[in-house]
């Protein structure tokens, strides 16, 4: 059980995800259910390999692999693939796979290029709070990523509804369904992000004696939270639906991207999660 083996297994998982993506895309064009079912089977195989990569890495390092950007990404990708399979099971809509599987593959390619060597754990990170902190981060930002993907689907669906000849007619759920699904996914992400921030605050209180210090990462997570809070208020209190609401969801994800990756250029206490 070595770090190298874990990284190699992850690369294989990404290859399998890529195959699943191709199958789902073929299904998108020819609508042969058997192809989509094959795609799902392959995706499950990819998920198992991804699981193996996480387990091998965890055993090799002797800790939960929830620490640096590489581990965070491969965990997120695992989460995204698992969430998609759940969505397919619930909605019975296999076309979403043509969006989800390529998304997972692309993120996988990016993650596989990150440095995966053992990371020096600074003593402040040796805490039991790390696991709920990172687990809620994976769920929160994973949900926001899914909402972002669905927001793009929404834009395609609106186009399809305006044009009966469109390729997307009969391949994509109704824009109203997607709009509502985005809301539910964001509501879940918002709950998870709240837990993420609060667990982080408790941890900071235990380590540094202050629950909130306006560290750039803290501040950006608050900014993201405020944007999604605005999304939820415009929807539940002001009755926003459709385009305006979806635009807020797209906007929120830009803040997520910056919170996850951009903040490292602003320094601060979370700088250890930098990509280099």
């Amino acid at each position: 059980m070595t770090i190298q083996l874990g990284a190699d297994v992850f690369k294989v998982a990404v290859g399998i995800y890529a195959l699943a993506a191709i199958l789902y895309l073929v299904y998108l064009s020819n609508k042969q259910k058997a192809i989509a079912d094959a795609g799902r089977g392959v995706l499950i195989a990819g998920l198992l390999m991804n699981t193996a990569a996480l387990v091998i890495r965890g055993v090799a390092l002797g800790r939960v692999p929830f620490l640096n950007m590489y581990e965070y990404m491969i965990s997120c990708i695992w989460g995204a693939a698992a969430v998609y399979l759940g969505v397919e099971l619930i909605t019975k809509n296999r076309f979403i796979g043509a969006f989800a599987a390529p998304f997972v593959t692309l993120a996988g390619f990016m993650a596989a290029r990150l440095p995966y060597q053992e990371h020096i754990i600074m003593p402040a990170l040796r805490s039991a709070w790390r696991v709920p902190h990172i687990a809620s981060a994976i769920l929160a930002y994973g949900a926001f990523a899914v909402a972002f993907m669905m927001a793009i689907m929404y834009l395609l669906a609106v186009k399809a509804e305006g044009n009966k000849e469109s390729f997307w007619v009969s391949r994509i759920p109704s824009s109203k369904f997607i709009d509502q699904a985005i809301y539910r996914v964001i509501a879940f992400g918002f709950l998870m992000q709240t837990i993420l921030i609060l667990v982080g605050a408790i941890w900071a209180q235990m380590s540094w004696g202050r629950y909130w210090g306006w560290d750039p990462k803290e501040t950006w997570s608050l900014i993201t939270w405020l944007i999604y809070a605005t999304y939820l208020h415009t929807r539940t209190m002001m009755g926003w639906r459709g385009r305006n609401s979806v635009m807020m969801a797209l906007f929120g994800f830009l803040a997520v991207i910056f919170t996850l990756f951009g903040v490292n250029y602003l320094g601060g206490l979370h700088a250890y999660s930098a990509m280099k």
Binding site: M206, G209, I227
Partner: protein, 481 residues
């Protein structure tokens, strides 16, 4: 229409009874408006973005910008907005929960998210009993009234969901109050404790008259001692722990002792000490003369940082000159010792120090027999000495005895913390209730319609995509049976 707000409920509380002064009323209305809330949320986000970017450009990693009056004002406005909104909508939520409007107009019921119009045989009372039974079997709480010969039924389920948003907003106010309370009554400071010594004060940063931050010492009202500070390393010499063996003395007696580490602070009388930094406080040299007489020479160490942020250690003298020079006289011979350099992680060669961690402290020593003569080779190199190592020079023995470390602690007292944690718990609970519990109401109007009894039911929920299929099916089933 999946999301139809129950208009019958809204109507009841629509009328405002206030006859307040115009300006005050306008201000109240401004703060209770949803648009104001949205503007404030986005303004807070936008201002925070600007601050993070400006701070990064200036290389400022302090939180000073978030304590400016402007930012605090923005936070205050958010707080007022939350409070006003909660107060404003409280009455309505109370009525919706405990005193629902029972009246139901068939025309309005038909516009509901889901509605059902049926006819049934029997008397109005018999049909009413069946409807009540069906709704109760679906776990609805049922209330009814008779009006103009017709029966109106109000059935509710998941009423706790009405309170989710209130709990959420209340919890944020609790966190705000906890934060203000904590910052007013608590403090954040630092204290350095040297090995083998005790400290009875801590220092806080306070603004002086000119607005500059200066360190001010405050009494702890007890004493804090450090037995030993120790860094733990893994095989690659990466630090895995910073441990301070602390003792608390109160009334002259040791009352508690704890080895703290980064995630494991020590608390005493509401004051908590967190491991924060460390350093070398002083070093000690011994010079033994040709006559066998030993002299202990302490030198202070000043910690600093170089341009790369790496720790540097400067040895300074305890004497007035501030130079790391000490002179000993033994057997009529005079020798001046100069500690020129301190390497925390001595590895020798050109690199001298392997890291800035105190893994293997060593000092570079020079001696001078003719001090204060400085030039023309008056200073003779003795070389590098690690702890415990000695070097001889013309009958003198120079030994690097030991280093004395200090531990740097953050010290904080935050009486607002229980409120903060209470707020955290309520916030998660409030959001969960808001999104995962659904308040459903089904209103039914039952009246004679010719020889039969007409039943009109309308189902309402504020939750998007709330479904009533099973509830209405149960109702149909009961009436058809």
């Amino acid at each position: 229409m999946a999301n139809t707000i129950d208009q019958l409920d809204e109507q009841q509380t629509g009328a405002s009874e206030s006859k307040e002064v115009g300006a005050l009323k306008a201000l109240w209305d401004l703060f209770s408006s949803m648009k104001t809330a949205i503007v404030l949320l986005l303004a807070l986000a936008a201002v925070s973005i600007v601050i993070t970017v400006v701070n990064a450009k200036r290389g400022d990693d302090s939180s000073a910008a978030y304590q400016t009056p402007w930012y605090l004002m923005l936070l205050t406005l958010v707080g007022i907005n939350l409070a006003v909104c909660s107060i404003n909508r409280f009455k309505q939520a109370w009525r919706r929960t405990f005193q629902p409007n029972l009246r139901a107009e068939p025309a309005q019921l038909k516009k509901a998210a889901a509605s059902e119009s049926l006819t049934s045989t029997g008397t109005v009372d018999e049909v009413t009993a069946k409807v009540e039974k069906a709704l109760r079997s679906r776990a609805y709480v049922v209330a009814k009234e008779e009006r103009d010969g017709a029966v109106n039924i109000h059935a509710a389920k998941g009423r706790v969901a009405i309170w989710g948003p209130y709990l959420t907003h209340l919890s944020i106010l609790v966190i705000f109050i906890g934060a203000v309370w904590g910052s007013r009554t608590g403090f954040e400071g630092t204290v350095n404790v040297t090995e083998g010594k005790k400290q009875s004060t801590y220092s806080v940063q306070q603004k002086d008259k000119t607005g500059q931050f200066v360190a001010v010492d405050k009494p702890l009202n007890f004493e804090l001692g450090l037995k030993k500070f120790e860094i733990k390393y893994d095989e690659q010499h990466n630090p895995t722990g910073y441990k301070s063996d602390l003792q608390v003395y109160d009334g002259g007696k040791q009352v508690t002792r704890k080895v703290i580490d980064v995630n494991h602070p020590l608390s005493y009388k509401g004051i908590t000490f967190f491991q924060s930094s460390y350093g070398l406080e002083s070093i000690s040299m011994t010079v033994t003369g040709p006559d066998g007489k030993s002299t202990k020479l302490p030198f202070a160490v000043q910690m600093g940082a170089d341009e790369n942020g790496q720790q540097v250690y400067n040895v300074i003298g305890m004497n007035e000159s501030g130079m790391a020079l000490e002179t000993v006289t033994a057997a009529g011979k005079k020798l001046t010792i100069f500690v020129h350099n301190l390497a925390p992680d001595y590895v020798g060669g050109e690199q001298i120090s392997g890291s800035s961690l105190p893994l293997n402290p060593a000092v570079q020593v020079y001696v001078n027999e003719d001090f204060p003569k400085m030039k023309d080779g008056a200073w003779k190199p003795v070389g590098w000495l690690t702890v415990g190592q000695s070097e001889k020079y013309k009958g003198f023995t120079i030994t690097f005895d030991r280093v004395v470390q200090y531990t740097g602690l953050s010290v904080a007292r935050n009486p607002g913390l229980p409120l903060i944690y209470l707020g955290f718990g309520l916030l998660v609970l409030g959001i969960f209730i808001s999104f995962y519990l659904t308040h459903r109401t089904i209103r039914v109007h039952i009246a004679l319609s010719g020889k039969k009894v007409g039943v009109t039911a309308g189902a309402f929920s504020r939750t998007e995509a709330a479904t009533f299929e099973k509830d209405l099916a149960r109702l149909r089933h009961e009436l058809e049976a």
